[in-house]
Symmetry: C2
DNA sequence: CAGTCTTTTTTCGAGGCTCGAAAAAAAGAG
DNA sequence: CTCTTTTTTTCGAGCCTCGAAAAAAGACTG
C-alpha cells in the first residue's frame, strides 16, 4: 500500500532529482538543472551547494572554455569522481570480468579471466567473483566502494539477490548477493545481463532508446531486455523477460532448457547450427559453438541457397512470431539486436518482418525499426556500471547520509 | 523526464492518500488512516477536516453502534455520496448499458438496451451512448457529474480516448472520448472491458487479487486484463494485453481478426464451436453464438468423448501454451477465468495445466491457482465505476479544486 | 579602459506543510 | 462521580520551496 509523503522526503527526492539531472546532462549549470527539474533557482542553489559541501558534486572549472556569451558565465556542475566507487561484475559463459568505477563513471581498474563455468562448483564460482572484486578494490585503492553490481546470463530473483537458473552453470539458486555482501559489507545486486544491455542502450542513445524499446541478445541462447513506459521490465518473482523461452511451436524443437518449441530452439546459435548441419530438431543442443562457426554459417547462407539459409529463415521466423506475440501484449517498440547473431541479421530480417506482419502486432510492421550491435560485452558492462551508480545516486546520497562511508572490504 | 516535487504538491498528494484510504477502508477512523498512510495524527486531522469542509468526506455517525471499547470512541469517516457523481457506460456486442453512480459508489439510476452494434454507423453508436448518458443524468438529477468512463470490448488508445478497433463494430478509430466530452463538458475515458474486469476483481477480493494477477475473458473472443506490480498493464500505444491474439500456432487456424493461429482461433467460443461442429479450422468464424450453444457443447463434451471434447482440449491447450509464453515474460500469477467459457473450464483445465507444464512458466505450474466467474457483465460495470471514481479522487479532489463544480450536461 | 548590459547565482523573507507534544474530548470502569 | 483509556484537536517548532531582489561575473561599447 502506498504511503503518504513526509515533509523530509521532499528534500530527499529533490536531492535525488538534482543528482540524476547532473548524471544525465554531464555538466549542467544550475540554471539548466532548474529548467529540467522544474524546481526554482533558489532551491537548486541550496541543494547543489549542500551536495558540493558533501563532496558529491563539484564545480567543473576546467570545463568548456567560456562560450563567449554575454552575461555571467554558467558554471557547470559535475559528479565528483571521488565521491564514491562501485564495482561492476560481468559473469557469462566461461568468462568473468569486473571493473572498478568511480562516481563519475570512469573506469579505474579492470580485470578479465576465463573460467570453465559449467564445470565449477557454485561456491567456486562465487569465490572467483569475490576474488576479482577484492583484487580490484586493492589495486584501485579508490576509497569507499558503495555498491557492487553483478550481471549474469540467466534468471535472477526479482529482488536481485540470487541467481535462480543459468545456462552457464548446472547449479541453481546461487545466493550471489548474500555471499558478496557478507564478504564486503556493501550492498550487492545480481541482475540479468540483457536487462543491463537495455540499461546501457538508454545511456548510449537516449533519443532512440527512451521510454519503450527492446534489446534482444542473439547468442548461444536468446535473451531480452525490455523497457516499457520508462521502466525496466522485470518479472514479479524473477528477472523475467525470457523471450527465448516463449513458445514458438508447441511440442516443437528441443530446447537447451529441456523443453520443446521455445524460440531459442529455433533461433539460438546452437539451433541454427543444428538446423543447418544436423537437420534434426531433436538432436541434443551443442554446448559450445564459437562466433566463427556462426559467421561461417552466415557466409555459406549468403553464398548459396541451402540448409544454412533455411536455418536462418527458421530463426527469423521464430523471432518474428515471438515478437508478434509480444507486441499483442504491449505494442511494437524500437528493437536492438545485439550479439554475434546480429552479424547475420541481414539473413533473418526479411523473415522476421514477414512473420510479424502475420500477427496482431504487425499492424505497423513496416514502421518497426531494427538496429544491430554485434558486440554485447561492452554493453553489458556499461549497463551494469550505470545500474550500480544509479543505486548509489538514489539510495545512498539522496537520503542525506553523509557521503564517504567507512572504508570497505580488503580486510 | 521526471520532475522535482514542489512544496504544494505535498498537500495534494497527501489529500489523495487520505481519500484513497477512505475509499479502500470504507469507514476508517482518523487513527486508522494515520496508520495506513504513515502520516501523523495531526496531519490527518487537518486534511480530513479540510475535506469535510469541502463536502468530500463526512463523519458517519450512524455507523457501528459503538464497539464497547474504553476510551473516546472512533468516529468513522466516509465518502460523502453527494460530493460528486460519475457515469459508467458499458458497450459490448449488441448491448449498451450505463449507470449513474454517486461518489460513495451507490448506483442511482441505470439503463440497458439492446443494439445491433455491428450494423450501426460509428456516429450512431456514439449517439446512443450520448443518449443513454443524457437520460441518466436527467433522471438522476444528482448534481455534478465529474467523470464519464466507458468500457468497450476492443482495443483503445493508450490515452483512453479512442476506440481503435473492436469486434463489435466494423468501424475503426471512433473518438468516443472527444465526442462525449464535447457533449457533456466532462472528462471522459474509454477503456478496454477486460482491464475493467481486472480493476473490479481487485476491489472484490483484494486479498487474492492484489499486486499481480490475470483476468481472462472466455467469450466469443478472448480478452485479458492484467495487473502487474500493482498497476494495470497497458500497451504503450494501445490498451494492450491482447492475449487472444498472441500466436499459438504460426499459420494455424483462421481467426476472427483475419490472421492465423491466434489463441482466440482455438479458444474463442466460435473456435470451439467450429472445431466441434465443422471440423474445419479454416471455416469463416461465425458472427453469433449464444451462451446456450456453448453450454450445450460443454454438456456433450462431458457426456461422451467426441469432437466436442476434442474442441475443448484444443482450446485448453491454446490457452495453456499462451499462458506459458506470457509467464516466460513476467512469471506466473493467480488467474481468474471470466465469461461463459468459464462454465466449461472444467473441460479445459487439465489441458491448460498440461500445456503450461511444458513451458518455462511451468516450473510451478501446480501452484498456479485458477478461479472462475461465469458472468462478466457485473464485473465490467463495477470496474468501470471504480475507474471513474478513482479518477475523480485523484484528479479532481486532490489538486484542491473546490469540490462541487458547475452543474454539467443536460442543457 | 571605465561604465553599461546581460545572464547566472545567491540571499532573504514569506508562506506552507508536517511533526511531536500537550491539551481537549468522549466514553467505559470502578 | 471520579479515574482510565483512547481518539481527536491544537499549537509551536522546524523544514522546505518560492519569488523577488541583490550580488557576481564577464562581454560589450564608445
Amino acid at each position: 500500500m502506498s504511503v503518504g509523503i513526509r515533509h523530509d522526503d521532499l528534500r530527499k527526492r529533490n536531492r535525488a532529482m538534482v543528482i540524476s539531472a547532473v548524471r544525465r546532462a554531464g555538466q549542467p549549470s544550475r540554471t539548466e538543472i532548474a529548467a529540467t527539474t522544474g524546481l526554482s533557482h533558489s532551491t537548486i542553489s541550496t541543494i547543489s551547494s549542500d551536495l558540493i559541501g558533501e563532496g558529491i558534486l563539484a564545480e567543473s572549472k576546467g570545463g568548456e572554455p567560456a562560450l563567449m556569451k554575454r552575461g555571467r558565465p554558467q558554471v557547470g556542475l559535475a559528479l565528483d569522481p571521488d565521491a564514491a566507487a562501485v564495482v561492476a561484475v560481468v559473469l557469462s559463459l566461461n568468462s568473468l570480468s569486473a571493473a572498478l568505477i568511480d562516481y563519475a563513471g570512469n573506469t579505474i581498474a579492470e580485470e578479465s579471466r576465463r573460467l570453465v563455468t559449467q564445470r565449477m562448483e557454485a561456491d567456486t564460482l562465487v569465490d572467483e567473483c569475490i576474488g576479482i572484486v577484492r583484487r580490484l578494490i586493492e589495486a584501485g585503492n579508490k576509497g569507499a566502494v558503495l555498491r557492487i553490481a553483478v550481471a549474469i546470463q540467466g534468471v535472477t530473483d526479482s529482488g536481485s539477490r540470487t541467481l535462480l537458473w543459468s545456462p552457464i552453470t548446472p547449479h541453481d539458486d546461487i545466493p550471489f548477493a548474500d555471499k558478496l555482501e557478507q564478504e564486503f559489507g556493501v550492498p550487492v545486486t545480481v541482475e540479468n545481463d540483457c536487462n543491463m544491455i537495455a540499461e546501457a542502450l538508454r545511456w548510449r542513445d537516449p533519443s532512440r532508446y527512451r521510454d519503450d524499446f527492446i534489446a534482444i541478445l542473439l547468442s548461444h541462447g536468446i535473451g531480452m531486455g525490455l523497457v516499457t513506459k520508462g521502466e525496466l521490465f522485470t518479472g514479479t518473482q524473477s528477472s523475467g523477460g525470457e523471450f527465448g523461452h516463449m513458445i514458438h511451436r508447441p511440442d516443437g524443437a528441443l530446447c537447451r532448457c529441456g523443453r520443446r518449441g521455445c524460440i531459442e530452439a529455433y533461433a539460438g546459435n546452437y539451433a541454427i547450427w543444428r538446423n543447418a548441419r544436423q537437420g534434426d530438431e531433436n538432436a541434443e543442443p551443442l554446448a559450445d559453438l564459437s562466433d566463427g562457426d556462426i559467421r561461417a554459417l552466415a557466409d555459406a547462407a549468403r553464398d548459396h541457397d541451402g540448409p544454412e539459409r533455411e536455418a536462418f529463415r527458421k530463426a527469423g521466423e521464430a523471432i518474428g512470431f515471438g515478437l508478434g506475440s509480444m507486441f499483442a501484449l504491449f505494442d511494437p517498440a524500437p528493437l536492438a539486436f545485439v550479439g554475434v547473431g546480429a552479424t547475420a541479421f541481414d539473413l533473418m530480417e526479411p523473415h522476421v518482418r514477414a512473420a510479424i506482419a502475420k500477427t496482431a502486432g504487425g499492424l505497423h510492421s513496416k514502421a518497426i525499426s531494427f538496429d544491430t550491435e554485434p558486440n554485447e560485452v561492452p554493453l553489458i558492462r556499461e549497463g551494469c556500471m550505470m545500474r550500480a551508480l544509479l543505486y548509489v545516486d538514489d539510495e545512498v546520497f539522496a537520503p542525506g547520509t553523509p557521503a564517504r562511508r567507512a572504508q570497505v572490504g580488503v580486510a
